[in-house]
């Protein structure tokens, strides 16, 4: 006679250290094995899209900082790119380089935290996270030097950046870039061969290539599944076509591959930074002549960038007034989290934490 069983429901979150923010997972369990996962979101919803409709184009920029607050300058950039497309504004050369430098610094800052927190989820408590945090602090210092902020930078402007970098910035950046390869190498050595880490991540939470494309995943989640798709290469924005770098991809699409893609991406970011430091013009305007209240012609524009977490897009509609008619934010984390059920079903609760950590989501951007 079969034993009568019934599913068991577990609420993971909204306040739980492993959910990286206020995020709830309703997990259906059979014993310890996951049968279904349902993400429940909206705890951090601030209505940024609605707020944007009552502000001028420039006033929207600080709102975009609140999306992906781990790498907030990239949000500024994506928004500014779409407004520039809409209004037909050309960005000066030096500003383009500053934008690239800061987007790559942000990518490093994001991956530091993503990998550190991921290892924390794997059970390597604190040490790997704090190592990463130490290096991330240097990037935050560079940003503070430039715009006085440490978390929500509000640095990019439509047509350029808000201010030029101070004199001491370039030497500090050069020192940082010179130190980075050694640090990444050390970190790799520390983690890559760790037996416990490999046992917990290799083959866990596999996302097949076809599924990744079908759900519209992007960023390291997509590339981890072996799809060579990076907007910096496939649809270059800003001045990315001038830089020589590679797009790392994974093979299997498991948690390890996503970690490994991020770690190699950090090396590529350092490469881009090295080239940008050499190429950047020493002097020049850093902002196009854009009035404070400008009225782009009626129409629509879509600008997207390869944010650290994936494809971040802004769809901006103008009706010819000083405020945007509609701003739609397309965040990578929202779509990547769709893949969670595919990766986690069939694994145990302890693996769910790792799988979720390997997606690297930030709730500011999911809930908007």
């Amino acid at each position: 006679m079969p034993i009568k069983t019934e599913p068991f429901y577990l609420n993971l979150g909204p306040q739980h250290p492993s959910t990286h923010g206020v995020f709830r997972l309703r997990v259906e369990l059979d014993g310890e094995v996951i049968v279904n996962v349902e993400p429940i979101i909206g705890y951090l919803h601030r209505g940024i899209e609605k707020l944007a409709e009552t502000r001028t184009y420039t006033q929207v920029i600080p709102l975009t900082d609140r999306l992906d607050y781990v790498a907030s300058m990239t949000n500024n950039l994506a928004y500014c790119l779409s407004v520039e497309k809409l209004a037909g504004i050309k960005v000066p050369e030096r500003a383009e380089y500053l934008r690239v430098i800061f987007s790559e610094l942000m990518r490093l800052a994001n991956h530091f935290l993503a990998i550190g927190a991921f290892l924390n989820d794997c059970g390597a408590l604190a040490t790997p996270l704090i190592y990463m945090w130490r290096e991330r602090e240097k990037i935050v210092d560079l940003c503070e030097m430039t715009c006085g902020q440490r978390l929500l930078f509000n640095y990019m402007r439509v047509g350029g950046v808000s201010q030029d970098v101070p004199e001491e910035f370039m030497p500090a950046l050069k020192k940082f870039v010179a130190e980075m390869p050694k640090f990444i190498g050390e970190y790799e050595q520390l983690i890559k061969q760790n037996e416990i880490f490999l046992a917990r991540t290799k083959g866990v939470g596999i996302l097949p290539k076809e599924t990744a494309i079908n759900i519209g995943a992007s960023g390291p989640v997509l590339r981890g599944s072996g799809v060579n798709w990076d907007i910096r290469k496939k649809d270059p924005y800003s001045i990315y076509e001038r830089f020589d770098f590679e797009v790392p991809t994974g093979e299997v699409g498991d948690c390890y591959d996503r970690f490994w893609v991020r770690l190699r991406e950090m090396r590529q970011s350092v490469r881009i930074l090295e080239q940008a430091i050499v190429q950047i013009p020493a002097k020049g305007p850093i902002r196009a002549d854009v009035p404070q209240f400008f009225r782009p012609p009626a129409g629509e524009a879509y600008g997207h960038i390869e944010a650290p977490k994936g494809n971040l897009g802004f769809y901006v509609v103008s009706d010819g007034s000083i405020a945007p008619y509609r701003v739609h934010i397309f965040p990578p984390s929202l779509i990547n989290v769709t893949a969670l059920a595919d990766m986690a079903i069939g694994w145990k609760v302890a693996d769910l934490i790792i799988v979720f950590g390997s997606i690297d989501v930030v709730l500011g951007e999911i809930d908007r």
Binding site: I41, G42, H45, G47, E49, K50, I213, N214, I215, G216, A217, V227, W229, K234, D235, P236, Y302, H304, N311, G313, Y315, V317, Y325, R326, H328, F330, L334, I335, V337, T338, D367, R368
Partner: protein, 146 residues
């Protein structure tokens, strides 16, 4: 560089395959009849040479007279993109076919549109509010919501 497919050329192909579906087209986008959206989407996804296998984003805009739904499709194989649009004139009970069965990435995005605009997607597996809570009154991103 992602090539933006000419909407005019594509409109001809779509009109041939699914007569009466195309309403208008311009250089970058194709406007289709809301009732035939799912058919057109399937055609775009499965026709060799087009292969729009990746849904970039889906959203809606409230133009007060009508809702405009915007889908940006991408083909990873050919690296070309297209903006597919459709309009929904009914404000009380706007209904559009769902495309979740073709691109699962639309799952959360359609739920979000339902939440924010009150647009109903026929065929969506689980159409509920996404960002606001159950029992929330009104649709925040409509222009007449204050």
């Amino acid at each position: 560089m992602t090539v933006v497919t000419s909407g005019e050329d594509l409109a001809k192909k779509i009109a041939e395959a699914i007569p009466g579906s195309v309403i208008s087209s311009d250089k970058t986008s194709v406007m289709v009849d809301a009732a035939k959206l799912a058919q057109v989407a399937e055609f775009l996804k499965n026709t060799p040479g087009l292969d729009f296998n990746y849904l970039n984003f889906a959203t809606a805009v409230d133009y007060i007279d009508y809702f405009e739904l915007v889908y940006r499709l991408l083909s990873m194989e050919h690296n070309h993109s297209l903006v597919l649009k459709t309009r929904c004139y009914d404000r009380e009970n706007p209904t559009v076919p769902s495309i979740v069965s073709l691109w699962r990435g639309a799952y959360f995005q359609e739920r979000e549109m339902f939440d924010m605009f009150g647009i109903k997607f026929e065929g969506h597996p689980d159409l509920r509010r996404l960002l606001t809570w159950e029992g929330f009154k009104g649709y925040p991103l409509r222009r007449d919501y204050l």
